[in-house]
Amino acid sequence: MNINLTLVVQMVVFATLIWGTMKWIWPQILSAMDERQRKIAQGLAAAEEGEKELSQARDKADAIIREARERANQIIDHAQHRANELIDQAKGAASSESARIVAAAQQQIELDTTRAKESLRREVAGIAVGAASKLLGREIDARAHADLLEQLAEEI
């Protein structure tokens, strides 16, 4: 066991190895590790942010859905109301129309009846006039009178 030239050689080898580690190994590995650490931190922050955004979006969607539902209910109510209105209107129109038709028919009937009565009356009068003239034209002839009366009565 002795101290010899190996000492010097070993020092040179050691110094070279330190220099190499300092230049080509340590910075590269450490920067990769730091970079990864930063990435993970960023990823976690982004995940948290995303979760927050998701819950916000969910709230917003809920609000929109609620609003839409309200609006739909309003529309349905409105439509129902309008339908009832239309039905009422239609009912009113139909009943007034039917009343009008009935009235027109009654009028027609009355007119026809009046007209028939008129013509009847005119005929009766004619007959009466004829009978009277016949009656007045002849002397009282019981038999002829009776015949005339019978004839008149038959004609009425």
Binding site: T6, L7, M11, L17, M22, Q28, S31
Partner: protein
Amino acid sequence: MSAAESGGATAYILHHQRNLANEPARGIVDFSVINYDTVFFSVLLALVFFGLFWMVARRATAGVPGKVQNFIEIIVSFVDDQVRDTFHGASRLVAPLALTIFCWIFLFNFMDLIPVDLLPLVARGVGLEHLKVVPSTDLNATFAMSLTVFVLIIFYSLKMKGVAGFIGELTLNPFRAKNVVVQALLVPINFILESVTFLARPISLSLRLYGNLYAGEMVFLLLAVLTLQGISALAHFSGWFFLVLQFALALVWAVFHLLIITIQAFIFMVLTIVYLAMATEHH
């Protein structure tokens, strides 16, 4: 298991204590000698470390990481946490330095878990007589690291505190006096105390690592001595007994050692960070 030379256990262990060097050393310090095995394995392990991490770093993605990248990132973030806990200055050097120290020393130490005779046996096959596969059982390797760290400590101290501040830190603590003359007398005492503390850092760093790994390897070697007789011993019951005993004890020690090699790599790294933090912080 290796029958080694016929010198028995002592020769076996001494044989394993020798590095593969260009020539035998003359004295305790001899800069004409170089340990080929230490250099070879430490460069090889440096390439393993650098290759693996560079492969990942080159294609490092901030997206979902693969299994290898995940594994590398666990180590990197572990080291990064240690540095952030202790070192509060801004430095592009300290964290990569800590990572290099931790991984490289761990790989050094991990070589200790390869069966002690396996690679030397292969080496003998290609004609190499001695081979020490664990670089951290070579003082040169551990001192090389601690001295490099020591140079960085001095560099950071001078850079952050200036020459005057650095000298002041070495001479004006721990004893202080209001009287200038008394203070002047205290300076040498302070300097002796502080320089011992200061110099103890690289020495304790390297010796702690070396001692732990040396002892760990020694335990494996001592266990291997149980079956030193080789295949021929299996003719007797005791041979089988020692074989099983070595296996069981080596297994237990390897599991325990796994803890030690990790802790030693960790300690070296943490102390380096602490020393550099002390060098950069004002008191």
